[in-house]
Symmetry: C2
């Protein structure tokens, strides 16, 4: 393993120290427990938006802390869920009296710990709602997940909910919006290479010189199939059609009822994409893939969307939800309406996503 | 070789097609000859800022075309200089009557072709000035260069000169500013791994499992030394001290005198960094290195700058001038004054650098 690190045990802490040194105008970092929070937190009267998960997916989530996006991010160790005390302390720090929305990627450890944090916060008088992101169409159930995994739509939900909170939506409105974004977003990824977790020091899995993994998870979990390398156009078509032609997916999720202090089962179904839909197209690098290749993927994706009657009205292209040094990409399509477009376009100022300010 | 491409011959063209599809609000792409130009070009009365070079360094340069930065970018094939006709046609397209500044990285092929373009444009009545960027302290003379190579400072010069042109600086003022940025910027890079050029299909060079190349060029040219892997702190210290302690570097460059239509030799010397200087610190990924590792490098760089009495007042952290999928990083320090800070902070709207708008 060759990496720009000191000791594997210090990767997360030192990277956070670097962020704190680099962006004091935008964010602060709290250590032990670790969390990143907006420099001006708490913002009085504003719903706070928080997220978290294992490290190794940077810039998600810490790179999205700032005005118009996240109030707090809780990083676990690499590919390891953060703990409930991180989430609780982060919630206390950023709660401006209007409650906290946690955007939770659907991985068993994350879900369990964010649920525990919501209960702990409730006991301390802080209203937390958790909304699950489970947008990965590749597989149902996987190594770390029951149901679909949470991937690229998370980034879009954080931007859109962050803007909504900034504009004064209340907690239930932001939670409803987040649920809407999740139900209207679908993703799928692929890997050309594995990634190497610092503490392990060797590749997470092995792919042959001419093999790719289609439907990979962001921790290198197995996908739909391992196949010989294909052209960028063929790969893009596989991912895009899996997303566009995905049929309605119904699942039951547990949501916290903050008024009654109890968990409620909610049944949710994704609406399918339809001819004429306006979409945001997000082409994401898994970390090690050059930007030039993402544009080759985008080129084909734009052609496919045009053929399928999907109108790309916004896009995002680059490394936003990564898997360390993995080469590969993911595609996310999110159906937009006027409200989502307005929220997407709203000003944002974070280390890794910024415009309008 | 596994890449997200179709055919190696089509990489540049298809990537440009993707950019055109993704960013019609910001830029257009002209094919045969290839160049990217601002969607609203020519901007009447504004000095046009152009650059170019081999592809494979994305987002540089095409990702920096847009309001407040470049008017045009001329991409060659991967790691291959663009041709004079690309530069000439681009200049004709973006010249708003106030002339064109070409920001030229110091590689023999680029220099020769940009010189030829300046002469051709002069014959057609377009004023072009070329300013060389030669900021790489690692080596003097290398595989593709006489004198120091042009690397990270290029990105900063493009931003700062783009802002100046937007604010109404005339051609000579922008050229002087660009020269100032170059003289006050110094860089050095290192590689953990090689990169793979699509047309070649195998790594450009070989590094052992425990070896790194310090002082690498952006095409994988040899650097100062090949040494066993070190910690991120040790590597950062090697790069940072080479930059900070670099002694004044004097060279003679050829500059075009647009009034007289002739080349003039100009002797230029870099001022050294001094205790108390305000600097912009730029930590750049060579392409395949995760953002989390760049922050570990930034952490140590900030400590070293503090020890040396350099005050980091602005920073840029991410993949901006890359070498395809190479793992590694480069550091650039640019001495700032109030004028440069104001121009750095000015609004910019390009695919890969955006704020304030």
């Amino acid at each position: 393993m060759k990496k720009l690190i000191n000791h594997p045990d210090d990767v997360v802490r030192e990277s956070l120290q670097g962020m704190a040194l680099a962006h004091p105008d935008l964010l602060n970092v709290h250590f032990d427990p670790h969390f990143i929070y907006r420099a001006d937190a708490p913002v009085s009267g504003k719903v706070a938006i928080a997220s978290g998960g294992g490290s190794g997916h940077e810039p998600m989530h810490g790179g999205f802390v700032g005005m118009g996006m996240l109030d707090a991010a809780c990083p676990g160790e690499v590919f390891t869920s953060p703990t409930p005390d991180q989430m609780l302390e982060a919630a206390k720090m950023v709660n401006g009296g209007a409650g906290v929305l946690n955007i939770v990627k659907n991985y068993s450890g994350d879900v369990m710990n964010f649920e525990m944090a919501a209960e702990l916060a409730y006991a301390e008088g802080i209203q937390i709602l958790n909304i699950l992101i489970d947008d990965d169409v590749a597989v149902k159930d996987s190594l770390y997940t029951q149901g679909r995994r949470g991937v690229g739509t998370t980034v879009l939900a954080e931007k859109i909910c962050g803007a909504a909170a900034q504009q004064g939506y209340d907690l239930k409105q932001v939670a409803n919006l987040c649920r809407q974004v999740n139900l209207n977003g679908r993703s799928m990824g692929m890997a050309l290479t594995s990634c190497t977790v610092p503490a392990k020091g060797s590749p997470t899995f092995n792919l042959g010189d001419r093999e790719i993994e289609v439907g990979i998870g962001i921790h290198g979990e197995p996908g739909r199939q391992r196949i010989p390398i294909q052209s960028a156009d063929e790969i893009t078509e596989m991912l895009a059609l899996s997303i566009i032609e995905d049929t309605p997916y119904t699942r039951t999720v547990r949501e916290w009822n903050g008024d009654r202090g109890e968990w409620v089962d909610v049944e949710l179904t994704d609406p399918p994409f339809q001819n004429g839909d306006a979409v945001l197209a997000f082409v994401n690098s898994m970390g090690g893939t050059p930007l030039s290749e993402l544009y080759i993927v985008y080129r084909k994706l734009a052609q496919i969307c045009a053929q399928k009657g999907l109108k790309i009205v916004r896009n995002l292209i680059g490394p936003y939800i990564t898997s360390l040094d993995m080469q590969g990409c993911s595609i996310t399509l999110l159906k937009l309406d006027d409200e989502l477009i307005k929220l997407w376009d709203a000003p944002v100022k974070t280390p890794s996503l910024r415009w309008g300010i």
